[in-house]
Subunit: 365 residues, 2 copies
Amino acid sequence: MNKRVRDHAEVIVDHSTDVQPGDDVVIRAGGGTEPLVTALHEKLGERNANPLVVSRSGRASRAFSLAADPEALEIPEHTLALMEAADVVIGVRGSANQHESADVPPDRQVALEKRRKPVQEAVLDTRWVGTQFPHPGTAQKAEMSTPAYEAFVYDAVTMDWAAQSAFQRQLVEILDPAEAVRIVSGETTDIRLSVDGTVTVNDDARNNLPGGEVFTAPVPDSAEGTVLFDEPVITRGREVTGARLTFTDGKVAAFEAERNEDALAATLEADAGASRLGELGIGMNREIDRFTYNMLFDEKMGDTVHLALGRAYEKNVPEDSPVERNESSIHLDMIVDMSEDSRIEVDGEVVQRNGTFRFEDGFEG
Amino acid sequence: MNKRVRDHAEVIVDHSTDVQPGDDVVIRAGGGTEPLVTALHEKLGERNANPLVVSRSGRASRAFSLAADPEALEIPEHTLALMEAADVVIGVRGSANQHESADVPPDRQVALEKRRKPVQEAVLDTRWVGTQFPHPGTAQKAEMSTPAYEAFVYDAVTMDWAAQSAFQRQLVEILDPAEAVRIVSGETTDIRLSVDGTVTVNDDARNNLPGGEVFTAPVPDSAEGTVLFDEPVITRGREVTGARLTFTDGKVAAFEAERNEDALAATLEADAGASRLGELGIGMNREIDRFTYNMLFDEKMGDTVHLALGRAYEKNVPEDSPVERNESSIHLDMIVDMSEDSRIEVDGEVVQRNGTFRFEDGFEG
């Protein structure tokens, strides 16, 4: 077995999900991920934990989505029972074709996703992690050779997480007690958010592997302003480019996109929470040095900020929070490039300019 | 999508498991079975049932089996919860390599199987079916080209099940009220069993696809005599050939095998029920015209009888039966060729001679 695959499995089992003897573990595996799934079985065996592999086939999902009547379907109680009984859920992406659902009508996809919301909530109640297997199809999407992409993935997932965690903690300490955040980039993005009362989380690769962001939830009715998302967003199997959203009282008041605006429209109409923000994230992982058309990596990249439409995480808005948690069946991350002519202000003070934080060398306040 | 794959999916969903709207369906899929898994998703979508795919990877299982401590493992509660909540379980075999667990010590495999017994019982409480996808690896094992093997599989699974059911019913009507069965083949096999009080089942492709046998359970302490199993048995990833078992008071009193006798020994030692018979089956499917090293097909072949060590099915020995049901974590089918110099006697009368039943043309009483 390839040593890098084994190391990846070890980080998942020991660092990200801290698997204990007797844990019931679900591996949700995309196609072509067998080497990592096998390495995970070895590690889980060593820990005397119980693995079960749920396979996620894009082709099968597409066939089901096109054939079923979303209104007639019931909640999948068996899947819900599985996830409710699970201690750990490990998601392994590895699709040969991210666009496998490109010809499923967006409104149908929204309806089908809604039905799965209780399952998704049960997964979030476990010690869950999402990670990537370097499938040639994902390498192709990243416009990289498979060996180069493998190196990119393995370098990112096996980095020194203790050091990265300490680096990120500096931003957590600024953002967590803060009230107001403003994000400005060029002439196209200027948005103000309140994070008053929400919890800032240090993503040091527990739920996402790689990790490498600091994130919180905006107060649901606080967003004011306009954002141009510089990088394409893949939603419902289609690539939305040049998305520009204007928020008033926290809600999307206007939107446009250069390509696949209808997929964006369907996402916004999924439910009441889909047109409000559920996350503000700040990418801080400098090992991730390029966009690869893969949100798991892209949102962690240094010099970026991302905002997500839809569901806020309980970690950011716990049950006892004074803030209302934005609920939705969707969670769509969208990225703003902050490397040039950009700044993040927290409570009126510049915390990052052109990608450099105020706690780093080279910062120009 | 290939029409034969679609037809196969339709037989599974409509005939074998009679899927209804709202049913929660688990597909346990071996590697390389995506075409059938996709076709099943289409059919299940049309029925508005909920599919979940559990993937069974031989390589992953092997890695887990070698790494885990069987004594330290607990019951996989999440898998149990899944199967208990499922209405239908569809098993799709398609392994590239049936010997993937050949280097896992047999006693370790027995211990790991024991742990899964409650899961297996929960599966048997659903409307379950096991079927085969014609993977090139399975074709290789059958010593056939993949296209020829595909034709063999698709012809067998899409046959006229109503006609086959009527043919088999003639034997059910003889065997179900009977008390004593004697099986004689050449100089090597002569065994007497009681089937007094057990229920004979007509396998017309509900739980097995293809179906094509009539089966019941012997009374657990009734087997007397010796059987030479003519065809190889694959257990724990290894091929046991020339197995010869002698029964006294229903229990294996002596055994030998030409190859892999230790795998047979481990199976017999799995638990108390493993050294008694749980099934007597009579193959009646003439579409299956050759051995393919695959019990799902081999045991249905005309001119054969099979006896299974271990677990008896509840269908054969229901809860209110006067007969004790043989319980075990194992169920190992072993085949006797009845085509020549052979006979089946039921209550002293010859019911089959040299493969021909008394209700068929050409029978020589």
